[in-house]
């Protein structure tokens, strides 16, 4: 019963929920037992958000705890740092280079730390960084950051590329399908 645990972390409003739903749909089509745990309500308002996706033969708990994640997909640098303790030793960390100041930094009560990526590497994470915002803009919209990052995650999983593309096509609105497929490709090939 070797289940795989993936965390998608970011800032409320970045579209982590859509990414987790697409991931869930792709995994389901491969015949896995899947559980996806989401955050709704107050935490969505620009706060730190986390979604857990677990799959395998049979999944019990829908949440992922410290030291349990095989992969963390981080939509923002500070969130990558916040959730690092949830990564298994040697686990993969895919991180967007984007930074979004949290309110304590905006008010001057705290400083946005320098050198997050070197610190993550020093802590033992197998880090892969990408500038998802630029790739999303190249694909046609800053809002497609989530699908770019999903593409980067998809590359790390043993699911055929076509399965993901079908999941993207059937989940997003038809008028945005082409742009999202471009965004997915940018992330997948990054």
């Amino acid at each position: 019963m070797n289940n795989t645990s993936i965390m998608i972390v970011g800032v409320g409003g970045q579209g982590t929920l859509l990414a987790s739903r697409l991931l869930g749909a792709a995994l389901l089509s491969q015949g896995y037992d899947v559980k996806v745990s989401e955050v709704h309500g107050m935490s969505q308002r620009g706060g730190s958000v986390v979604t857990y996706v677990k799959y395998g033969q049979a999944v019990a708990s829908p949440i992922i705890d410290r030291g349990e994640a095989d992969i963390i997909l981080a939509f923002e640098q500070l969130e990558a740092a916040r959730w690092l303790p949830y990564l298994k030793p040697g686990g993969k960390l895919i991180a967007n280079t984007q930074t979004i100041d949290p309110m304590p930094v905006i008010t001057g009560a705290a400083a946005y730390p320098d050198g997050i990526f070197p610190a993550l590497r020093a802590a033992g994470a197998d880090l892969r960084e990408l500038d998802a915002l630029s790739l999303a803009l190249q694909a046609g919209s800053a809002r497609a950051v989530n699908v770019v990052l999903l593409g980067a995650l998809a590359r790390q999983l043993e699911i055929p590329r076509g399965v993901w593309e079908t999941a993207v096509q059937t989940t997003v609105k038809p008028q945005f399908a082409e742009m999202n497929l471009r965004a997915f490709a940018r992330g997948y090939e990054a």
Binding site: V11, G12, G24, A25, L28, D33, V34, K35, V36, S37, E38, V39, H40, G41, M42, S43, Q44, R45, G46, G47, S48, V59, A60, S61, P62, I63, D65, R66, G67, E68, L78, A81, R82, L84, P85, Y86, L87, K88, P89, D101, P102, M103, P104, V105, I106, T107, G108, A109, A110, A111, Y112, P113, G115, A119, L120, A122, A123, G124, L133, A142
Partner: protein, 574 residues
């Protein structure tokens, strides 16, 4: 049977739709909201948002008495509001099935307290089921109607954040069309005045005994034996945590019915296992039941009383094991939730802070006005308490009236604010109430309410006029302002506080996240004019930050609301 990924709340809606439910009345509240939103997608069910949970439960009860299987959903604190009808509906029983879902929030992801709804089941002598995943959400919701009718009782369905908001695999079935059960006049059953209620109470006590006997053998409770050196008694999400932490190193008594609790089943399980642990977050309801039976079990001696559980907590408490995890040599600032860019509440709270006003707060997005840098809230207790609490404060300290306000959202005002306002007018406190009318129920994710003129099903309907309600209850001074206009907002506040009589300010501007609210082009900072004075930072807008000592606007976040423009003395933001 093909399985699909269902959100727990979605599966509940599916379950009661399949069971032939016809009527749904609820009030939104995280983590329960999506049950009713998904329910509204089924054409066969008449689904409504009620003004509050008490009205919702009374409406669902009325429909059940009329003979329609009916449902009502709410969050844990909502059941405090709906407790009045629940306790007496337990006496009258129902006609067609009545199911009440109540969603607890261990860990308080989006709540003001961490109360345990199981106490309500015991206190109201009402059967309570608790599912552990989406498949059980569907099955239990459907079965709850049959149980409700078999025992002539409302049935409580206890949800929790992780069950409500997790997706897992669920089978689906077709809908059973169940005709209306004929209503027959029966005052002895349905009119609860002392002579009748005294007789009904006897039946309620007999019903609990029958339910207790049923709980011994019902399909909702099951023992799973693996290694018997450790036994775990658990329900709901804690069963999943236990299975994750212990696998087949332990045996499980998984309780799907959490009230009333069985006796023999628990005795047999404890006798078969070595050390027995009762793994329940929040209160020790099952543990105390075991101890009342004279059984030796571990519970709150090893598990926390505060916060939600996880597999790690169980692993540590039962096995003494800890997983290795990476540590980071870096200070990571917190990222609390914030008012969104363009939020209409921001300008109002800025004015309240500037004027050093005592703010009696309430439940909604605007509770975030309590956080830095706005820090414009003194109290927040429960829905409606901003207004009634301010009245009491001003009665005790009349001088406070000239420098204090209550703030309450449009939906919360409908929920239980209007009665507080009536109290202010009737009992004559010189209080100022600000209704933050953003034309939607915001915090729970954009639900319609009686002020919006649209029903849950999306149909146009009568819209409550806040101005007319205020006037009708006896408030003579009602101001309407646009909170994007800081000087007009401050002027209205000055006038409202100056007079020796109560006043209402309606701060009106639709939520910036509403689909029909089109963002304006992003503002930008002229680096030639910006002096780095940080005046624009005082409103706590997530779209503005300091970059190299000067203000910068993030064009991906800014919606051009213009509140920051009014703070810049140098004309640097345009």
């Amino acid at each position: 049977m093909k399985k699909e990924l269902f959100l727990g709340n979605e599966a509940v809606a599916r379950g009661f739709w399949e069971a032939g439910c016809r009527f749904v009345s609820s009030y939104p509240g995280t983590p329960s909201t999506e049950i009713t939103e998904y329910a509204a997608e089924y054409a066969e069910m008449d689904c409504e948002w009620a003004p509050n949970e008490k009205v919702a439960l009374e409406a669902a009860y009325g429909a059940a008495v009329a003979g329609a299987r009916s449902f009502c959903g709410m969050k844990h604190v909502g059941l405090n509001v709906a407790a009045d009808p629940l306790f007496t509906a337990s006496y009258t029983g129902i006609n067609a099935g009545l199911v009440v879902a109540v969603a607890d929030d261990p860990g308080m992801h989006s709540s003001q307290n961490e109360q345990d709804s199981r106490h309500y089941a015991r206190a109201s002598k009402t059967l309570m089921l608790e599912p552990a995943d989406s498949a059980e959400c569907r099955d239990f919701a459907a079965a709850a109607f049959a149980l409700s009718e078999a025992f002539d009782t409302p049935v409580l369905l206890r949800m929790s954040t992780r069950v409500s908001h997790s997706r897992s695999l669920t089978e689906t079935g077709s809908r059973a069309e169940i005709p209306l059960r004929p209503y027959e006049k029966n005052p002895g059953k349905y009119v609860m005045m002392p002579a009748m209620a005294q007789k009904r109470h006897v039946l309620v006590e007999e019903r609990i005994l029958r339910q207790r006997a049923w709980a011994e053998t019902c399909a909702f409770n099951r023992a799973e034996y693996h290694d018997k050196s450790i036994g775990v008694i658990c329900a709901g999400i804690n069963y999943q945590y236990a299975r994750e932490a212990l696998g087949e190193r332990a045996s499980y008594l998984k309780l799907g019915c959490v009230y009333p609790l069985p006796e023999r089943l628990i005795r047999d399980f404890c006798a078969a296992c070595g050390a027995v642990y009762v793994a329940e977050d929040l209160d020790d309801c099952i543990e105390q039941h075991c101890k009342s039976l004279g059984l030796e079990v571990h519970g709150k001696d090893v598990f926390p009383r505060v916060g939600e559980f996880s597999q790690s907590i169980l692993r540590r408490a039962i096995l003494g094991e800890e997983l290795p995890a990476g540590a980071l040599d870096l200070a990571v600032p917190a990222r609390p939730p914030v008012l969104c860019p363009g939020c209409p509440h921001r300008g109002l709270f800025y004015v309240l802070k500037k004027r050093k006003i005592f703010v009696s707060g309430d439940i909604g997005c605007y509770t975030l006005g309590a956080l830095a840098p706005l820090e414009s809230m003194d109290t927040c207790v429960c829905m409606g308490a901003s207004i009634s609490g301010l009245h009491g404060h001003n009665k005790a300290d009349p001088e406070n009236a000239a420098r204090s306000v209550a703030v309450i959202g449009d939906s919360t005002f409908m929920h239980s604010g209007v009665t507080g306002l009536i109290n202010i007018a009737y009992n004559r406190s010189n209080s100022v109430v600000i209704i933050l009318d953003n034309s939607i129920t915001g915090m729970t994710g954009h639900q319609q309410n009686p002020t919006t003129g649209i029903t849950l099903k999306g149909d146009p309907t009568a819209a409550v006029s806040l101005e007319k309600v205020c006037e009708a209850v006896g408030i003579r001074r009602v101001f309407v302002v646009d909170p994007y206009d800081l000087s007009a907002t401050e002027e209205a506040l000055t006038q409202a506080l100056a007079a020796a009589e109560p006043a209402v300010i309606i701060s009106r501007r639709p939520c910036a996240l509403l689909k029909y609210v089109k963002p304006k082009p992003s503002l930008r900072v002229d680096p030639e004019k910006c002096t780095g004075c940080r005046a624009c930072m005082r409103i706590g807008c997530p779209a503005i930050s300091m970059k190299n000592k000067y203000a910068a606007v993030d064009p991906t976040q800014c919606v051009g609301c213009g509140v920051c423009v009014q703070l810049c003395r140098f004309g640097a933001v345009t």
